[in-house]
Symmetry: C2
């Protein structure tokens, strides 16, 4: 039967051997996370997720949420688990100490979040959304708002949501209609309908802090007239406690393919009381802070669910006996061999392994940039980290969910017929994973963000800096014979990414449709190149350990997996480049009626 | 809201323009299907599926099947639809006239089956399994068995199943334990448990004819000791009517990811009465007749569900307005443009279009071989058609379901958030489609069948014949400037397939693991080459019509879609070849514990 264990050994490999996070021990917040603390946090976090949240994963899927008289009931056990989680302080790991948080580095929260989503994604979204909403208030809220909301949100006593989508607009927020009417006391009356609001209504927390995009009466049309409001379920009293019920309610729950344990709500605001966050008509900018945070979180979910599926399929492949190895029995005393002896099963397992380990390195490496952006001592490091965050966010979100979903599907396939049955769990993982390609901006929107915005920003400084970092790594390591395979692979991928970038700069400006046509393949080529860098770095760390005589099998195994990556994944780079260079002409030829 | 229409225009394009099925009008069975009959059958079949079966598709998914006291109840409306279907004769289209069938060509039944599965796959499996079981009896049964069972099965009065899998063995049938004990009257007592039996129990038909693999007491171990039995739910009376209840029953229904409308049963046989079909210990050979039939049917399901999803996403993309075209408003009077103007949405739609139209040509072309194998006048054509059926069956099954599933997922993605909700239907299509990669032999097993069995058969005659046909097509058409792009694409893909084949012959024999390691990429390269051939043939037919001055927009549209295929799909050929040539070494290195 399926089970999940926190992948602590591999997490430590990335944090200690590859990223060497302790090198930043003199920086604020890093200083509070020496190696033994990091270990202890992950070990305790792992136990909590394995023992409390994972057993509720299937329960959440089967029971789902129910709505009655405006009250949403979450699946059995979620309430108790939420209390345990907040009491243990897991929601406040990397929150600022001035608002009651523990002030630990972002990367550590990211590593914990990986385990959280892997053990129970639908549950993890309740605190996850709260974290994003708190981040937006931290950036855009007034001191009064921050003092009122943040301590309760970081502690988990109150939760949070983000309200963007309306029935007629999701991607195109410029069309939104929810309106805000200014009141004499400085508050606003908010009226409108929002849909697909994750964690929009439930009884887990004492209050729900809705962040709502709306248009103030008389504001300009389009995206230039959108403001952000904080609209709590219960209006805070003078003492900051939940008071009168606000005039908003959940009007329905979405019936979905997966993440049944999370309440996806239609939210109706009917002259609800709200307060402006930041400036009038500048709401989108603050919401994008939250959105970027959330996009990294969704990319991480791509990894999390792929890890769960990998654990499932690996256990199945070792246990299930069926057929004989093509090169003679490997389990001669049994009636058949375990299916892990079959090359095609190994092909699938190795692909899963390449993905989860590569994605772990990539997300943690990116998460480290989030720390350095704010905490590094020098301006240059901060600027570089900020550039990387901007550039890489769409890639983390879309590449890791596209490939993560594929990886979960591979895991299901290894199960054969069992994979299609609810009993074995992996079909739930697949259904849950499918949303990650869609929410927080579809993967197509991520690709457009990359080619249309991130590539050109600051005179192409972020991509040029990134390319230079790759060149530097290649130059430093190309003399090392042990690393030749990996460095050659990286050099080759990077060259193709450069060609693709050059093509985009030239042809995308000539005709914007060329940029749109190339966007998804460009994003994939970029993601593949990031993986090539991660696998080269991991191979370097592992090779050094092997050279030192370290016999921990993880190191030898990393070198084999890195080789598989080069041999089996990098051949796709050519195809991506060819498609990038096709341009938009053929796909734009047909009239809509000719399809 | 989602809807489905039978794709009659494109079906006619393939049958009339590309395959020119009327050229065989002098052959038996073809003679009964002049163009007007073919048209009428498809038109009526389309109406039946659109109006009767499609409305039950969602019902079937939501209600599923229930088991109480051994009785399985199918979803509301299935019973009535089944009666309508059998009364109209749809189950007997291509069944032999001597058993009450209509004797029409196989390709026509295939075209109808496409519509059947597209409108309601879970429903279509009830008659589908019956067809496969009848085919096995037709090939392996005694005259008495055929006279007793076939007329009732072809009419749909009785239905059929295939019972292979047991809890401990699916792929590896050599391990099966269900036993058969000979009785004095020539019958056998069958005892054992079978699982995952589609349509195993229900009340739609008057009797259920189970074909069961079992081992006669004292039979050799492994696959050489497996016999096939016919084990009806009700023992036929002297008059051939359902009599006494046999001692078999449904012990449980599988809870699955999709195809909820079909009853997937645990079947318990407890000294049930059965009769040997064919010879003792030769059961697998007959079952493989059924299995091959079923595999083509599963490949067809890959097309069917992709077509449904394509219709859904195309309608959504024309209707949903969101954002503006990158090259200026295309719907200036509305608040936004329909999303079909965005290149990345078009990329997805064109990919869907390439798949469904390519898959339709490929399955119909293969289905035509099934007719020619039995009905062609000359030995050479029959032999070639039989070779093609053997060679291409694993490719039709696995390539069309791998790519078909991907295509459905693309369709879901176009829907954005709506795609994840049950309301829009496409998430059901995705859940239903996921089984096609698994049942009737996982796609990995298909790949092994291709490289381990089909490639080498008859001294490689089938693949050599196929390659020669491609060469001939290329030679005939390379002088035609209008076709240059498509013929060049085919030549290139074929050259890579030849390289991959040569590598397999050399390295696969050296080490069987090399063949296993390469198998899936080889199958995909083969499928891609088949698509290149189909698209070149379609382009040729379309170009000829355009040259004649035919202004039906389908012809101009085919040429654009064929171009998109060459530009966007063929670049994958190189990556497949590179992976084929990697060999098994890297993936076989790690010990099971090192994963």
């Amino acid at each position: 039967m399926p089970s999940y264990s926190a992948p602590l050994r591999d997490q430590r490999f990335v944090l200690n051997d590859v990223l060497n996070v302790q090198q930043y021990g003199n920086l604020p917040s890093f200083a509070d996370a020496p190696a033994d603390i990091v270990d202890a946090v992950l070990e305790e976090g792992g136990k909590f997720c394995e023992n409390v949240l994972y057993p509720l994963n299937k329960v959440g899927d089967r029971e789902g949420c129910t709505l009655k008289d405006g009250v949403v009931t979450t699946p059995t056990g979620f309430d108790d688990a939420y209390t345990q989680m907040t009491e243990a302080g897991w929601t406040a790991l990397s929150a600022p100490t001035e608002y009651g948080g523990q002030g630990l580095p972002h990367y550590l929260n990211l590593a914990f979040s990986e385990i959280l989503s892997a053990s129970n994604m639908a549950f993890g979204m309740y605190p996850g959304l709260t974290g994003g909403a708190a981040q937006a208030l931290l950036v855009g809220g007034s001191d009064e708002q921050k003092d009122l909301y943040l301590p309760k949100m970081f502690s988990g006593e109150w939760s949070g949501t983000m309200n963007l989508t309306e029935p007629h607009c999701g991607t195109d927020l410029g069309m939104l209609r929810t309106k805000a009417v200014p009141q004499a006391d400085g508050s606003y009356k908010i009226t409108g309908q929002k849909i697909w609001i994750s964690a929009g209504e439930h009884e887990l927390s004492g209050n729900i802090v809705h962040l709502v995009l709306a248009r103030i009466e008389g504001a300009p049309e389009g995206v230039k007239g959108i403001s952000l409001f904080v609209v709590p379920k219960y209006l805070p009293t003078e003492a900051g406690e939940p008071g009168e019920r606000n005039t908003l309610q959940c009007g329905g729950l979405e019936e979905k393919m997966g993440i049944h344990g999370n309440a996806t709500c239609v939210m109706n605001y009917d002259d609800a009381t709200g307060w402006l966050v930041g400036e009038e008509n500048k709401g989108l900018k603050i919401m994008f802070v939250m959105m970027n945070e959330a996009r990294l979180g969704v990319g991480l979910q791509g990894l999390s669910l792929a890890e769960t599926a990998y654990q499932y399929s690996l256990a199945f492949a070792k246990d299930r006996i069926q057929g004989r190895s093509l090169t003679g029995p490997k389990n001669p005393d049994g009636p058949a061999d375990p299916i892990i002896v079959h090359p095609d099963v190994r092909r699938m397992l190795m692909n899963q392994k390449v993905f989860v380990e590569g994605a772990r390195a990539f997300t943690y490496w990116t998460g480290l940039q989030a720390d350095l952006e704010h905490k590094a001592a020098d301006d240059a490091t901060r600027e570089k980290a900020g550039d990387y965050m901007a550039l890489l966010t769409p890639i983390v979100k879309a590449y890791l969910t596209d490939k993560g979903y594929e990886s979960v599907s591979t895991g299901l396939q290894i199960h054969g017929g069992s994979g299609f049955t609810q009993e074995w769990g992996v079909e739930q993982t697949l259904r849950d994973a499918r949303i990650t390609l869609i929410y927080e901006g579809t993967n197509g929107i991520q690709a457009l963000d990359l080619v249309g915005r991130k590539l050109a920003m600051a005179g192409m400084r972020p991509i040029n800096t990134f390319m230079a970092e790759l060149d530097e790594f290649i130059a430093e390591n190309e003399g090392n014979a042990d690393l030749k395979l990996y460095v050659d692979g990286l050099r080759d991928a990077k060259a193709k990414l450069q060609q693709g970038t050059n093509w985009l700069v030239e042809k995308g400006l000539e005709n914007f449709d060329n940029a749109g046509a190339a966007s998804t393949d460009y994003l994939h080529l970029f993601g593949l190149t990031c993986f090539a860098y991660m696998w080269a770095m991991m191979a370097k760390s592992a090779a050094a350990k092997v050279a030192e005589g370290d016999t921990d099998p993880i190191y030898a195994s990393k070198l084999v997996t890195a080789k598989f990556f080069v041999e089996w994944w990098l051949p796709d780079a050519d195809a991506h480049l060819a498609r990038i260079q096709n341009g938009a002409e053929t796909m734009m030829t047909l009239h809509a009626e000719a399809f």
